[in-house]
Symmetry: C2
Subunit: 203 residues, 2 copies
């Protein structure tokens, strides 16, 4: 994949607040955010095409067959996937793309595109994580427990990521992510030879 | 070296403006900037103990013998060196330290402390570099030519650094360096296990 935009993968345990952080980033910056497809039901106020593309299991399976996903995964009995063609088109145009995906999905993307920028959103504490999951209010007691146990285990996957950002406040988390994106553009190992040739040819 | 502060090495060719960038960074941030020792004569407005410690060749050689330098180098017939003990003390206290040093010195520090953060300041173009060196006004025609030829060669050393920052405006360069420092604090490979234990022990 020879793209000029950066693929920024934002991930983390359920309840760490990655959705809120990504929405805030989108308001502040010229990022293009990839909208995932899912077979789960919409929660309150979620809009089709904005929060997710809500599709049926049959539709999802057809798209798997036709290799229409950059990655996909089954989580808590539902499918989630990232439509491929549009992401690659936007990256090719030079624009940075944010993927907000769960840990399983992020690790699949990492295997396919290790040059992506993998950012793990951490809750400020496990207590705060429990509060956030509980206050979401859309979960049954069983799914609450599943989510919390899973989140606890998921945090250990932070070691597979490039960066970890504690979501103490959305503003702090956004500022750190913006800094990471700016810093990565300055990394010498991400620059190609053309940059240096250009510097010297200006003589 | 088990330090909690980051050692930020800012370097680049003669005329790229690393001194101006470092002064601006120091005004904006809580960095501690290491003052180098040198045997060269002060230029206009340079103050002993602020810009450099101006010392004699004999004094410098004594300090080399007593291993008082983190690195030292001979450049254009003069010695430049970074006093060691104070830098390590400040890093140990948890504060970030900026070293503004020439390329030869930076590469010596990198061999000794590869975990430092190595930032290369680039001029926006070779033409602008020539203007900056010429406008400095403190050089003879011979030393001008020596500096410019050397700067040209020095730019190829950018590949040995972690980050390259184009100094198009001092504000832009400072913002990028501040972003790099924030991003590096979020790097998973720079975090120790305590961070994760702390996250989980808050449960």
């Amino acid at each position: 994949m020879n793209c000029r935009g950066q693929l920024i993968v934002i991930s983390g345990p359920s309840g760490a607040g990655k959705g809120t952080v990504c929405s805030a980033l989108l308001e502040k910056n010229d990022f293009w955010i990839s909208v995932s497809a899912t077979t789960r039901s919409p929660r309150n106020a979620e809009i089709n095409g904005i929060d997710y593309f809500f599709i049926s299991k049959d539709e999802f399976k057809e798209k798997i067959t036709s290799k229409d996903f950059l990655e996909y995964a089954e989580v808590y009995g539902n499918y989630y996937g990232t439509p491929k063609s549009e992401v690659l088109k936007v990256l090719d145009s030079g624009q940075d793309v944010i993927l907000e995906i769960d840990i399983q999905g992020a690790l699949n993307v990492k295997m396919a595109y290790p040059s992506g920028l993998f950012i793990f959103i951490l809750p400020p504490s496990m207590e705060e994580l429990r509060n956030r999951i509980t206050n979401r209010g859309s979960e049954t007691p069983e799914s609450l427990m599943t989510r919390f146990t899973s989140a606890h285990k998921e945090i250990s996957f932070v070691s597979k990521y490039d960066y970890a950002v504690v979501n103490d406040t959305v503003d702090n988390a956004c500022n750190k992510i913006q800094s990471i994106v700016i810093a990565e553009r300055c990394r010498v190992d991400r620059m190609n030879g053309d940059f240096l040739k250009e510097e010297i040819s200006n003589e």
